[in-house]
Symmetry: C2
Subunit: 273 residues, 2 copies
């Protein structure tokens, strides 16, 4: 990392015309950087972008990631920095390390392109190779208000099996079950408790999401299968307790859920102090 | 309904020392009514309360409901009004009608005792017998800002199989699965998306709820078994699509969930216009 002044750092975004790529284009431009963009149909190719930029951010669908990194990684100079925005990190960081000699880190913005600002939003960073660019990238995100969490790629993916894979699984199943029943929606809304309203508000956020990305999040996370299996096992146990009208078994399951929710919110409270 | 002036209407709450009963005691006192209360340990018995009051609100655990109605229903004068606050309505309205000759309605406040005010909160009312007291009760709730929805008891219970039984089922299963894994909660919170954070906030609301009430909501709703069965069927279908990495099947399920979420929120929008 020889460049020290903002205007000396040229940043390139591969996939910069996509929703998340464009979000980061605006973010970095606002932060005072020069930003180049390549995408399908741009005059500038990803290869030329990779040769010219000090920093390259890859924002492409996860299905295309390997092929993009295979093409641009080898073109990047040793003193450059390569990072990505994928929702998974173990395979992705490994592929970046294998295909380039420059500095590498994995980035996962834990928010979507519908957010106005990075302020207060979370970003996970997974170190790959090199400290200087990593610290530059972390400081840049933090200087604009992001809450950055550094973790290793496997821990990240393990957490994402809960935060994304299982969470999406539940929301899709609930939404699809509601859809199938052709319920009287007027009546359902009128009779909603605050808890159910909030649940359906989260389901409704799916409307702004890309089904292909969501498919990849379910199918490509190596920890997801186990988490889903455990969740469905708990569903079966709870279902049996209800069918047997076994109130004691029900209350025991309920108390564990209460404890998990309380611990989560207590931890949120500690982190926002 | 002979009494016309507020101070002439004496209201009694059976179970008025419980959390919801006490909430309605404060609500009705604030609204300018005289309110008597009976509960375990009060000098005033539920029987005496039923003989003396123009309006009796029964706020007892659903397991105790039948026995309470069986004792107080027959004591109520013909020109009085009997209502309840149970989370289910079909059996409850029927039992009130069978045990008294006075006016009857079923009430289900779609909120818990943690709410500060009834303003903007929903209340379902199911007609039983008599119009005058029903209209008085509805007007009283609406005059304090409640959104009242009148429906028949079976439709109410059918909607509650979704709004309460299935919703709680999902929240308990998620909370219990998180609990079982002994996850690093600091890391899980740091790596939470807005969607997962909101989901865990809803799980955390269980902390303030009564497990016995939640057990009854699961076990006593005649429509719940079918709704749970359908939901678990969708879970299996989605799980299979993920295991087979069948992206087309996944996307089809995803699109239905998107449609359900969108329709729900559009309906919320129309109702709040």
């Amino acid at each position: 990392m020889n460049a020290v002044c903002k205007r000396d750092i040229l940043i390139g975004i591969v996939g910069g015309k996509g929703r998340m790529g464009n979000w980061f284009f605006r973010f970095l431009t606002d932060a005072g950087y020069q930003v180049l963009v390549s995408d399908m149909g741009t005059e500038l190719s990803s290869e030329d972008l990779a040769r010219r930029c000090h920093v390259v951010i890859v924002s492409v669908p996860m299905e295309a990631f390997s092929s993009v990194i295979g093409r641009i990684g080898p073109l990047m100079p040793k003193d450059a920095f390569l990072t990505d925005l994928c929702s998974l990190k173990a395979v992705q960081v490994q592929e970046m390390l294998q295909n380039t000699v420059c500095s590498v880190a994995g980035s996962h913005p834990l928010f979507g392109p519908a957010e106005d600002s990075i302020n207060g939003r979370r970003v996970a960073l997974c170190p790959g190779r090199g400290n200087e660019w990593f610290e530059w990238w972390r400081s840049l995100l933090e200087s604009r208000g992001a809450c950055v969490h550094c973790t290793d790629a496997a821990s990240h993916d393990r957490a994402m099996a809960w935060v994304q894979a299982l969470n999406h699984f539940i929301l899709i199943s609930l939404g699809k079950a509601v859809f199938d029943q052709g319920l009287d929606m007027e009546e359902l809304v009128f009779l909603s408790t605050p808890s159910f309203s909030k649940q359906m508000e989260i389901v409704a956020r799916l409307f702004y999401q890309d089904p292909q990305l969501y498919a990849t999040i379910q199918m490509a996370n190596p920890f997801a299968a186990n988490v889903l299996h455990n969740f469905l096992g708990v569903c079966d146990k709870l279902h049996e307790a209800v069918l047997r009208t076994d109130r004691d078994a029900f209350v025991e399951l309920f108390r564990s859920a209460q404890a998990a929710g309380k611990t989560y919110m207590d931890t949120v409270g500690k982190q926002t102090l």
